[in-house]
């Protein structure tokens, strides 16, 4: 029956230097991609909506570092972090945000539909909770074909109030499918705090309703997320069925865009408190303290990533716009 694993509070000591560096690099890539995207939006250079991932980097990095390329993920409206961490390229991502024909969706999808089938990224999704059953289907397909890949579905605390989540969780459980459910609990469903949208303190409690084990992790600690994910992925891959991870995390920016609060729905103190446990600061302090990396080595990751992003933005800006004559492209196959 359902149980709660006890790894939540354990300090995650034994991970390799390679994993630490991997987690750090994935997080830096997300952080810089998102902060630059936010600046471009505020400068009025990007059309549409932008749901930024800054603050939650440890979750995407921790989970994705436990996956193989052929493992599949479904994402959310706040999907850039998952895409970057799964290895989707900066060029096609920025080009998509710019609505260019070189974008990940040929300029047809925008921020909320970035995908890369070659990287197992089955798409961000504009509908809350809708990616959950799709991941169940991806896991079904893997087992059907005799492959041992797994599917991970990311969703927020708010998404666990929608039917698709509950139906998908039960379906994965009863069919015994290799799905890892990752709740990124950032404390808010848009502007509504968790206490205003459910009576539970821990979303992970919901897993028990489906006979699914769960674990709660510090979502600002990439190493802790990685360890929990590695365990859940291994479980799924070896046929032990689905599991849920609840990562307690926080988004630094607004629900949509960087700032632009109509009214304060959270306090400056609360934001500052979470920022004091910044996931990248945490892993850098840890890496330097235990000799995994030197400060110059870490700085080099930031510098290289900045260069790569500057090049990708220039590429996006220089890319052609879609031709309205091709508007009907890909409505149907064949």
């Amino acid at each position: 029956m359902a149980q709660r694993a006890s790894t939540a509070s354990k300090k995650s000591a034994q991970v390799s230097a390679e994993i630490i560096k991997d987690l750090h690099e994935r997080m830096v890539r997300i952080r810089l991609f998102e902060t630059e995207a936010g600046k471009l939006m505020e400068a009025g250079r990007l059309p549409g909506f932008l749901h930024l991932y800054v603050g939650q980097e440890a979750v995407a990095a921790g989970v994705m570092s436990a996956l193989r390329d052929d493992d599949q993920i479904t994402s959310t409206h706040r999907g850039h972090g998952h895409a970057v961490a799964k290895g989707v390229g900066f060029r096609e991502m920025y080009a998509e945000l710019y609505g260019r024909v070189t974008g990940a969706c040929l300029g047809r999808g925008g921020s909320m539909h970035i995908n890369d089938l070659t990287r197992g990224m089955l798409g961000a999704n504009g509908i809350v909770g809708a990616g959950v059953p799709i991941a169940v289907g991806a896991a079904f397909a893997a087992r059907y074909k005799g492959e041992d890949s797994v599917a991970v579905t990311f969703f927020g605390d708010g998404a666990t109030n929608i039917g698709a989540f509950h139906e998908g969780a039960n379906m994965a459980a009863i069919l015994g499918l290799p799905v890892v459910f990752v709740c990124e609990n950032n404390g808010y469903a848009e502007f509504t705090p968790q206490s205003g949208h459910m009576l539970l303190t821990d979303v992970a409690d919901r897993a028990a309703a489906y006979g699914m084990p769960s674990v709660i992790v510090d979502g600002m600690d990439a190493v802790a997320v990685h360890r929990a994910a590695a365990e859940a992925v291994e479980r799924a891959r070896t046929g032990a069925g689905p599991m849920m991870i609840e990562a307690k995390t926080y988004r630094y920016f607004d629900h949509q865009g960087v700032k632009g609060l109509r009214h304060p729905y959270r306090s400056d103190e609360e934001v500052a408190e979470w920022k004091s446990r910044d996931p990248i600061d945490l892993i850098e302090a840890r890496a330097v303290a235990d000799g995994t990396a030197t400060r110059p080595e870490l700085d080099d990751v930031w510098r290289r990533t900045r260069d790569e992003i500057a090049e990708a933005i220039a590429y996006a800006e220089a890319s052609p716009l879609p031709d309205p004559a091709d508007l009907l492209l890909n409505v149907y196959s064949g």
Binding site: Q72, T74, G103, A104, C105, L106, G107, R108, G109, H113, N115, D116, L117, L122, G123, N125, G126, I127, A130, V132, P133, I134, A135, V136, G137, A138, A139, F140, A141, A142, Y144, K145, A151, G163, A164, E167, G168, N170, M171, I174, L175, L329, N330, V331, Y332, S333, G334
Partner: protein, 337 residues
């Protein structure tokens, strides 16, 4: 005038509509191991309408999946599996149940290829039983083709007999797009000549079920049979109607309709769904746009009144269009000109 069937040059035998569907599905499963079936009571029980009889015996639990009553997760399972290269057939039992999984159909399956810049296809088939006439009342009797035909990315087929039940199902499964197969509950036990081997019927191509020169009757699903019956009645009065079965309502073969209207100059569109906002409105609009100068009378629509499907048989009979109303409509069209 003659009733035209597509008289395939192969041996046929009489099968019921539901058996023809079942045979087409089984043959499509034999043809491609990527085809599987998931739904409520499709495996062990064989489907509440016996649509999936004996398939568990032949294909086993790997390919015949009983699921919980969770239509959103069921269609989502189909979407995710299709995105990963399988060809799922998911069954929604009653068409009225699409309300609980419309997001997965409309926002996920239909749009995924477009939104993703063509990165994938979603070869998903959704089977479902539609239509009134069995006293199943308002939540188990609807014909909601207009909802789905309105959504770019979806295809919608409406088999009118055993032959099309098999052929359109095979084509739906072979198609690389999400296709909704609207079986008609009243027709499930009706019989027709069906070839033994597997065959597809092209999606998006209408069939002229009867040739005639006086009125074009465009009939959807079960109304094809009603229109053919009306044709016999009218023929005795010296009126010859042409009956067009679109077979696929999305994509819609309007060229066949336009060509017919150029010859008959009068059109009646009939469907089980409510008239307001139904396919008849779309077809009428397209006809006036393309062949207005050929019309001798306004396009006449016959559909259900704007009400939920009623329960009591006397009310339900009054609700659903039938051969008498079609014949009456044709007479009215002829009186006008």
């Amino acid at each position: 005038m003659t009733t035209t069937t597509e008289a395939p040059a192969v041996a046929t035998r009489k099968l019921t509509y539901v058996k023809a569907f079942n045979e087409g599905l089984a043959q499509a499963m034999r043809e491609d191991d990527n085809v599987f079936v998931a739904g409520e009571d499709v495996a062990g029980y064989g489907g509440v309408f016996r649509m999936f009889d004996n398939l568990l015996d032949e294909f086993g639990p790997r390919r015949m999946i009983d699921t919980p009553i969770s239509e959103a997760a069921l269609v989502g399972l189909g979407v995710g599996a299709a995105a990963r290269g399988l060809r799922p057939v998911v069954d929604l039992m009653f068409m009225d149940f699409i309300g609980v999984c419309l997001d997965q159909i409309v926002n996920q399956a239909a749009k995924m290829k477009y939104m993703f810049g063509g990165a994938l296809s979603v070869p998903l088939t959704i089977t479902t039983a539609s239509g009134a006439g069995l006293g199943a009342a308002a939540q188990h009797s609807q014909s909601l083709e207009a909802w789905l035909a309105h959504v770019p990315g979806l295809k919608v087929v409406m088999p009118c007999d055993a032959y099309t039940a098999k052929g359109l199902t095979v084509s739906a499964i072979r198609d690389d797009n999400p296709v909704v197969v609207m079986l008609n509950k009243v027709l499930l036990g009706s019989t027709g000549e069906v070839p033994e081997e597997i065959y597809g019927i092209p999606l998006g191509r209408a069939h002229t079920a009867r040739q005639g020169s006086d009125v074009t009757v465009i009939a959807l699903g079960r109304m094809v049979g009603e229109a053919l019956a009306a044709a016999d009645e009218l023929s005795a009065e010296g009126v010859e109607i042409e009956v067009i079965d679109p077979r696929t309502v999305q994509p819609l073969d309007t060229e066949t309709m336009f060509a017919s209207v150029r010859r008959t100059h009068r059109v009646l569109v009939v469907h089980e769904a409510v008239t307001f906002g139904g396919l008849g409105a779309e077809i009428a609009a397209q006809i006036q746009d393309a062949v207005f100068d050929y019309l001798d009378a306004p396009v006449l629509r016959i559909g259900a009144p704007f009400s939920p499907v009623p329960f009591s048989p006397v009310l339900e009979k009054a609700y659903v269009p039938d051969r008498a109303r079609i014949a009456q409509g044709c007479r009215r069209l002829l009186e006008r000109s």
